[in-house]
Symmetry: C2
Subunit: 227 residues, 2 copies
DNA sequence: AGCGGGTCAAGAACACCGTTCTCGCTTCAT
DNA sequence: ATGAAGCGAGAACGGTGTTCTTGACCCGCT
């Protein structure tokens, strides 16, 4: 590896510091991040930030990528801590880790799964880290492939061909029917997390952890994971 | 009824015009609504809007309430057009109408089910119109109550007591177990719609209508609605 | 008929915001 | 040592939400 010049190193540190301060701002305030506020927190003038990020959107993109990777890492760690043979345990571990991360970082979660920022299209480099969680869920199903209960009804034709493409990309060795149910579970996972983080459950459900557990267990049933 | 003074009437019309223009702006641009832009579209100066709405948040709140009512009305109409005995058809009609409304009004949908606007707490008067869709789903289940297949596993205890409270408020005559499954379906409905509207399905699923139909049918199965 | 109170739109002003540009200063490579 | 490149400060531009003042208008009353 080429030795990084001192210049490049302090630049990378500054880059990191900006993101850290921005994350704190994001957690304190709502979703709208102010460059000038970030600069103030660093005793820096706003225009100086443009040495490191070409625009506010670029900084947001960097935060989004970091957040996807943070979420993915949290899920991966949690899943890795469960014995390989405990398939349902691994499924639930991924789900719980995603929820825990979202509740711990609600503003960043909003960046990832909330309203897309207006005028901002998610760049290509966000798609791979974004797929980490669903990839983990698929991996659990693959490991369980020969113990999965058959599922009914079968996936309708047009959906099946979409799924085939995804199976080639992510999860070889899984039937379209079972992949479909993983997809259902993935949708439900983030649907329920979004409801909770965005306050849609306020005044309706108090026992949220238990409800989450219950829902994700139902999804595991739907996939056909053995109890 | 008291005759509305002419003054009050033109004022109400102006109120309505502002909301219409704001809705158009919202559809054209992203989620961030600019009062000055609305004013420009009306050949009006921005400060004049403050005669009608005390703040930007107040205008947003009015739009949100209108949107909830529009969505609720769309779902209600669609459901009412299905024969009462076709329980699954009524369930699916509500789901389809919600999706169609969301796709037709993505920015307004984002207001309702996306990131909560920073510094903005949903006022009390939004909760009743917001509950319309789930209320319709519950109503279908109530009408189907004596034909619903039993569901397993049973709802865990702490969740059950939350559900009991909701049953008293919304859906008397439904078992906690079945109410729970309606809740699951409701979560999934808006989870999947959010995925689609917010672009989380881009590049993954093309046959979205078919996939939606499939998912919502699975949820109907989960509730125990007869085929 | 005339007057007074209430309502309205306009406009200036303030404090923010993202972004661009210029200007000195430091630091590095030659 | 010198030239080039990177850096932060600062001013500036056009945008935003919001407040306040000012003058015009309409309506109902005496």
């Amino acid at each position: 590896m080429s030795a990084p010049s001192l210049r490049a190193e302090v630049r990378a540190q500054m880059n990191q510091r900006i993101k850290d301060v921005a994350r704190r701002r994001l957690a304190a305030e709502g979703a709208n991040l102010s460059l000038r506020a970030v600069a103030r927190d660093m005793d820096i003038v706003a225009s100086a930030l443009y040495r490191y990020f070409p625009s506010r959107d670029a900084l947001l993109t960097a935060l989004i990528i970091d957040a996807y990777e943070s979420l993915g890492a949290a899920a991966e760690e949690a899943e890795a801590a469960v014995p390989r043979a405990d398939l349902r345990g691994r499924w639930l571990a991924v789900c719980r880790a995603a929820r825990a991360w979202a509740l711990a970082h609600p503003a960043e979660y909003g960046l990832l799964y909330g309203n897309p920022v207006p005028g901002y299209a998610a760049p290509q480099e966000t798609v791979r880290p974004a797929a980490k969680v669903v990839f983990l869920l698929v991996a659990v199903a693959i490991d369980a492939a020969d113990r999965l209960a058959p599922v009914t009804p079968a996936v309708p034709g047009p959906v099946r061909s979409d799924l085939r493409r995804l199976i080639d990309r992510y999860g070889g060795g899984l039937s379209a029917d079972h992949f479909d149910r993983v997809f259902v579970g993935w949708t439900h996972l983030f649907g329920l997390i979004s409801f909770e983080v965005f306050g849609r459950l306020d005044g309706m459900v108090d026992a949220r952890a238990e409800q989450f557990e219950h829902h994700m267990s139902l999804m595991a049933d739907l996939v056909g994971l053995p109890r």
